[in-house]
Each structure stands twice: as C-alpha cells, then as structure tokens.
C-alpha cells in the first residue's frame, strides 16, 4: 500500500478529530452537485452559481466554475506570478507543517503546508467571504461565492474526495502506461512507433533506475522512487464498434496511468471517447484524423491532422480567388481511409454555393479505380487528392484542362510524396508542419537517437512525433515529482508545453483550456528545384 494513502487518511482523520466538538461529521452529500458546481459553475438542474469579487464585478455560471483556476485535479496552477493553491481536500485539511521535514503531502507548487488547517466552517467562510483559515483575506482573484448550506456541503464533500490518492497504474515500483493500436494502423507506422516507444521505455529504465535507497527528505516523506516504466501494448481487433468494450476490459485488467503514442486510422472516435469517459490521459497519438471537441480534456494531439489540412486548403481556395463561378471541386479518396474524414471537412469549410463532387473509390480497386475516378475531371475543375503515396505514384496523366491540384502532406508523405512529374508541377500541398530547412536541427535530434539505437526509420514523421510525445511525458512527470494524478499530468502539459524548445516537426507547440491541438496551423507549399524535389512555401504560416 502506498504510504501516501495511509498518511492522507490519517490526516483526514486527524483534521476531523482536531475539529472536535464544533465539527459535526460530514453529512452524506451528493458529490454530483459538488462536482457540477466545481466543474461547470452550474447546479445539476442547470441553474448557474453566482459569485463576486467587488460589488460591480459579479460572475456566474461557467465563468465562476472553481475548475477555471484550481483546475480539474484540484491541485491548483501557476498563473504568471500568481500561485493558485490546491484545494483538493488533504491540502485544505492537513495540520500545519512547519518545516520541509514535516511535508508529507504530494508536492504541488501552490501548497501552503505552514497554514492552519481549514474546518468545514472556516472553509465555508473562505468560499463565501474570502477569509483564509488564519483570518486574513484571500487573494483578490478568489471570488466570493453565493452558495446555500446544501450546496456548500456538496462542494466541500467533492473537494474532500478530489484528494490525490493511489492512482490506478501507479505503485511503489512501477508506472504503467499503455499504447493503443487499432487494426486500421498503417503497418509501417505501427512498427516504427512501437520501436520508438519500446526503446524509449528501455532507455528510461536503464538510465534512471537505481538500486539504491529511495530518496527521502525525512522519515515520513518519501518521494521520487525510481519507478520502472512499463509499456502495455493494447492491440484492438475487429470493427470499431467493439473497441470501446475491448479497451474497458484492458484497462480493468491492467490499470495504466496514461496512454502514449497510440496508432490507428480513420476511426479514432471510439478510442477518444473511451479516454474521455475513463478520464484517462491519451497523449499525442500518431494519427491522421483526430477528434476535435473543445469540451474534451484527456485527449491531447500534436495537430489537427487532415481536417486541419482541409481548412488550410479552404483558406487558400477562398483567399487566392481560385473559385470562379462554375468551378467544381473534385475530392478523390479511398473508402476506409482518412480521406473520408477530410473530404466532408473541406466541404464544410467552403461556402455552400461551391460545387463539390466526391469521388469515393473502393479500397481495393488499385490503379483502375483511381483512373476511373480521375476521368470524371473536366477542364477547369480543381482536384483535391486525399491519397496515400501508393496511389500518388500511379496517378497517370493529368486530366486535360486541370490546372489546380491540392494534396495532403500527411497522407502523401510530405515532401517525399511520389508524384509523377507533370502532377508535381501543378500540385499545391497542405503542409501542417514546419518547413524542412527550418526544422532540420529539431528533427536531427530524434533521427540521431534512432540511429544510435539501430531503430529503422520506417515512417519518419510518425516516429519523430512518437519520440517527442515520450520526451514530453517524461519531462512532465519529472516536474510532477511524486504527485501522480492523471488530470494533473494533462494540466502540467497544458501549462508548460509552450515553453518547449524542442518541438520536432512543428514550429511551436502550446495548449490552453479548451485547446487540445498543440500545433495550430500550416503552410501551402509547392514542389520546386530541377528535380522538383524541394518544397517552397507559397504562404506564411496560416492558422485557419
């Protein structure tokens, strides 16, 4: 058993015991109400809660949700120079600890271990009137909330159970992680990414695991046990409708702290939804069509994938006036591939008056199917190719009169897309990455790492993303010291990603509440040079 849990339990018990005669035992409260207040600023019936900082400055509903500042974990945050304190139960109710030797709580930045513990009554006063346990005013940022007794009881009960306890997937010796592989994952991407993940975990365990005693600051506080990192590969099977059940069974059989570097194809929604429902961080999957839902929390992606490419194309088509009256846009894609996700996105991003035609080819029709689809193009049409490199190599002659061709960098293989020469002269590629010359130093680092460890480069961009995801996970966990809380992991990544110097294929990475795509734009590029083997940006970095 984790000693933290025991200590946490003792603290809770002693806080209640200390409160003695004035403190009645916590009534059984509905944490559903507390959770709704905390996370949404509303009561379960939809009624907003109200609060104010000064008479003229009242707030209500979602702008008054506790989570806005104290975060979903309840572990607080740093806002510039303002440390927003943790309000998960054990941080509020622990007895005063005078020195670091007595620090027996999981470390978070804004904790105040040298403060008198709150009682239920003093906590209610803090929430309603902004008075701290010691009688001093709380910081200005903390509003005064108008909560009735039942709402207060529910909120405090929620704060109590928010305390970090033994997290699934974490024990005294091991941190368990999973990577999810759906049957739609491209075999080269899957193998390349698994090579990187496996080797990263091996390295991690080789370099950081020491046989020595745990580091500790006192007889009570033990922190940063050199835990073994263990990767569980969750390979799914069958159709996407059965994946969620498979994932639930996998998680039940082997709890993990987070999911890292997963791979898959056009159906990602079931995996995304599973992680949201389980409140399990699903970090930086290497996929082409991520789910975009600003209300979601646990799924974090490097980029918007092919939907971002569609938005870049729409921006370009509208901006350069390529659409004359009667211009048709023909989107060519294969059934079962991510073009099925990208094509509707592009249609959606264009005005309803634009004539968009979709040429959906069956999966196994090869060159014949491709040429039949292209034969539909008439002079003046704009062609949009949501095609993989195997199809690009087989395009054949450009249909007569076609002057504008767009293609997907992610699907086609970036600058290595094997386009025939006459297509190459026309093609404009949506390119949601930094340009090759600018990212060279960034990408040389993982490439050198792969080379030194004999990892074959099968899918360079996917493998570089997998490596970067692992580095971000590792760096973030280092700074979390021993506070292994899933929500806190996501929150720390959200807060610190913008400071990263090494950002791989992307010019910069950053997140914020409601932002789950770390890189937010891209270029439109064309092929250049004598062999057409260089790419040149036609636009600035666009964030559509």
């Amino acid at each position: 058993m984790d000693c933290r849990v025991l200590i946490g339990g003792l603290l809770l018990w002693s806080a209640l015991a200390l409160a003695g005669p004035v403190e009645r035992p916590t009534p059984v409260a509905d944490t559903g109400i507390g959770k709704a207040i905390y996370r949404t600023g509303h009561l379960p019936d939809g009624k907003p809660i109200r609060a104010q900082r000064e008479p003229a400055m009242s707030i209500s509903g979602s702008t008054a949700a506790c989570m806005n500042c104290h975060k979903r974990s309840g572990l607080g945050a740093r806002e510039g120079q303002t440390a927003i304190p943790p309000i998960a139960g054990i941080y509020l109710f622990h007895p005063r600890a005078g020195t670091v030797d007595n620090l027996d709580l999981p470390f978070v930045e804004g904790m105040k271990p040298d403060r008198d513990p709150y009682t239920e009554a003093s906590l209610a006063r803090a929430i309603r009137e902004g008075i701290a346990a010691d009688g001093k005013p709380l910081f200005y940022l903390m509003p005064h909330f108008a909560l009735d007794d039942a709402q207060m009881t529910a909120l405090v009960a929620y704060l109590r159970q928010l305390s970090p306890t033994q997290m699934p997937g974490v024990d005294n010796t091991t941190l368990h992680f999973a990577t999810i592989v759906t049957p739609e994952a491209d075999p080269a991407v899957k193998q390349g990414v698994l090579d990187v993940l496996t080797r990263f975990f091996d390295d991690k365990n080789h370099y950081t695991r020491s046989q020595g005693p745990r580091m500790q600051s006192s007889h009570r506080m033990m922190f940063k046990v050199n835990r073994h990192w263990q990767l569980h590969v969750w390979e799914l099977s069958g159709s996407s409708s059965g994946w969620e059940a498979q994932l639930r069974a996998r998680l039940a059989a082997q709890p993990v702290f987070a999911v890292i570097g997963s791979t898959g194809g056009s159906h990602w929604e079931p995996v995304h939804r599973f992680c949201e429902a389980a409140e399990l961080p699903c970090l930086f999957p290497v996929i082409d069509a991520p789910v975009n839902d600003p209300n979601d929390f646990d799924n974090v992606y490097f980029s918007g994938g092919v939907r971002l490419e569609a938005a870049l194309m729409a921006h370009d088509l509208l901006g350069r006036g390529a659409l004359r009256a009667g211009t048709r846009i023909i989107q060519v894609y294969r059934a079962g591939d991510v073009g099925e996700e990208a094509a509707p996105a592009l249609r959606h991003d264009l005005p309803a008056t634009v004539h968009v035609v979709e040429q959906r080819m069956s999966a196994g029709t090869g060159k014949t199917g491709l040429h039949a689809a292209l034969a539909e193009a008439r002079p003046g049409d704009v062609l949009v190719l949501w095609l993989r490199s195997a199809d690009l190599a087989e395009l054949g002659p450009v249909p007569p009169g076609v002057r504008v061709v767009y293609l997907s960098a992610r699907m086609g293989g970036l600058e290595d897309a094997p386009l025939p020469a006459d297509w190459r002269a026309l093609a404009r590629m949506a390119y949601p990455f930094d340009l090759p010359d600018r990212r060279r130093v960034q990408v040389d680092y993982p490439l050198g790492w792969f080379r030194l460890r004999g990892i074959p480069v099968r899918a360079q961009q996917a493998q570089a993303d997998a490596y970067l995801g692992c580095v971000i996970l590792s760096d973030t966990l280092n700074h979390m010291v021993d506070t292994f809380v899933r929500d806190y992991l996501v929150e720390r990544i959200e807060a610190t990603l913008g400071h990263r110097v090494l950002t791989g294929y992307y010019p910069r990475l950053s997140l914020a509440p409601g932002q789950r795509f770390a890189s937010k734009g891209g270029y439109l590029v064309h092929f250049s040079g004598l062999q057409g083997d260089r790419i040149v940006a036609d636009t600035d970095w666009i964030s559509p």
Binding site: E54, V100, F107, K112, D114, Y140, L141, W541, S543
Partner: protein
C-alpha cells in the same frame, strides 16, 4: 538530487508567499480610514510605474478583420487603455476584460474619448471572429477593439510593453494607459480595478487642463 533541489526551491517560494501575506494589513489593526482600501490594493498586488515605451511599427489584425498599424490605432486622438488577453484564458483575462467592461460603463459620456485596446497573446487561436465573440461576451462597446496577428507580431507587441513572458500561460495581470496625444505610459501591474483606471484617466484630463 535534482528533485531535492526542486523541493527546496519550492519551499523557498512557499516561504516567500507566506511572508508576503503576513505583510498585508488586517482590517482591525489600524484606525487609518483608508486602510481597507489600501489593503484591497495590496491584495490586488497593484504596482504603478510611468514608462516612456516606444510603440513599434507593427501591423495587427483588428477584430473587424482589417489589417491596421498599431501606431495609428493608438494615436487617434483618444486616451488609450491597453491590455493583453487570450480568449481561452479562464483566470486573469476574464477578470481584466470584465474590468474594461465596467470601465466603459463608468466612463459614460466620456466613453468616446477613451480607446480600449486588447491585444491577443494567442493569435493563432484568436481569429477576428473568435475575438468578436469574446468581445460580445463582455458587452464591449464601440470604443473597445481586440487585435490579433501573427505569433511574431503579437510577441513584438508584448515585448514593446515589457509584457512578454515566453508563453501565454505565463502571462501577468497588466494594464497600460496613455493620455490622448501621446506621452509616457502609466503601467499598472497587478489587478487594477475599473476605479483605478478611471482615476488614471481623470488624472490625464486634469493634466491636460493645467497645460
């Protein structure tokens, strides 16, 4: 060892925080009639300085979609109140924007003489449409515009006013004011209230009247 350092350092920060709060005056320990107000100001960590910032030559995109020169936007004959925000921010920015909203109300008829300028520090996300929606949320009146641009332009704007902290998640509460027709900027670090801003604007007026 690194973890020990982290912990020790954090302890120092905690100690610093504690020291800060212990300097705050409590309501009952003084007969000074302004004590309550001063304590409030202290609690808001307000710091005032006067600095002659040079406004850089810079193109930004206004919330109506027009590309404009920052210099022209600031030199249009009105006093300027400027802050940096991003629409995804859930902590400091909504508060700062609410202060601007209340300020517009308090300005009343003088509203047309003051230009409220909010520049996004998350320009990739904050498109003009997103900024307009944000402005509506805070009932922004005619004299309050929001601006975006490229990441580089936003950084240059922040740097020009000593407001760049390397990343939007590290931003600080800050308001900058300048009288109509130019002159040095009043820099208010911390959580300025609408009344603080109004007092600065009134100060500009009396300064102009005495000239």
């Amino acid at each position: 060892m690194r973890q020990l350092t982290v912990l020790a350092l954090s302890w120092a920060i905690l100690a610093g925080t504690a020291a800060h709060s212990s300097t705050a005056a409590t309501a009952e320990d003084t007969t000074d009639p302004h004590a309550a107000h001063r304590q409030m100001a202290e609690n808001r960590q307000l710091q005032r300085s006067v600095i002659a910032y040079k406004v850089p030559e810079l193109q930004l995109v206004r919330d109506d979609g027009h590309t404009v020169s920052l210099e022209h936007e600031l030199d249009d004959g009105r006093a300027v109140v400027l802050n940096f925000i991003y629409t995804a921010c859930t902590t400091i920015c909504p508060l700062s924007s609410q202060v601007f909203s209340v300020l517009q109300g308090k300005l009343g008829a003088e509203r047309s003489k003051v230009h409220l300028v909010s520049i996004s520090i998350d320009p990739e996300q904050d498109t003009p449409a997103r900024l307009r929606a944000y402005a509506r949320q805070f009932h922004a009146g005619a004299g309050w515009q929001h601006y975006t641009g490229t990441p580089h332009e936003s950084i240059v704007a922040q740097q020009a006013f000593g407001a760049y902290r390397g990343d939007k998640m590290s931003h600080l509460p800050l308001t900058l004011l300048r009288p109509a027709g130019g002159g040095p900027w009043v820099r208010l670090d911390g959580f300025a209230s609408a009344d603080d801003l109004l007092a600065e604007i009134r100060g500009f007026d009396s300064l102009a009247a005495s000239r």
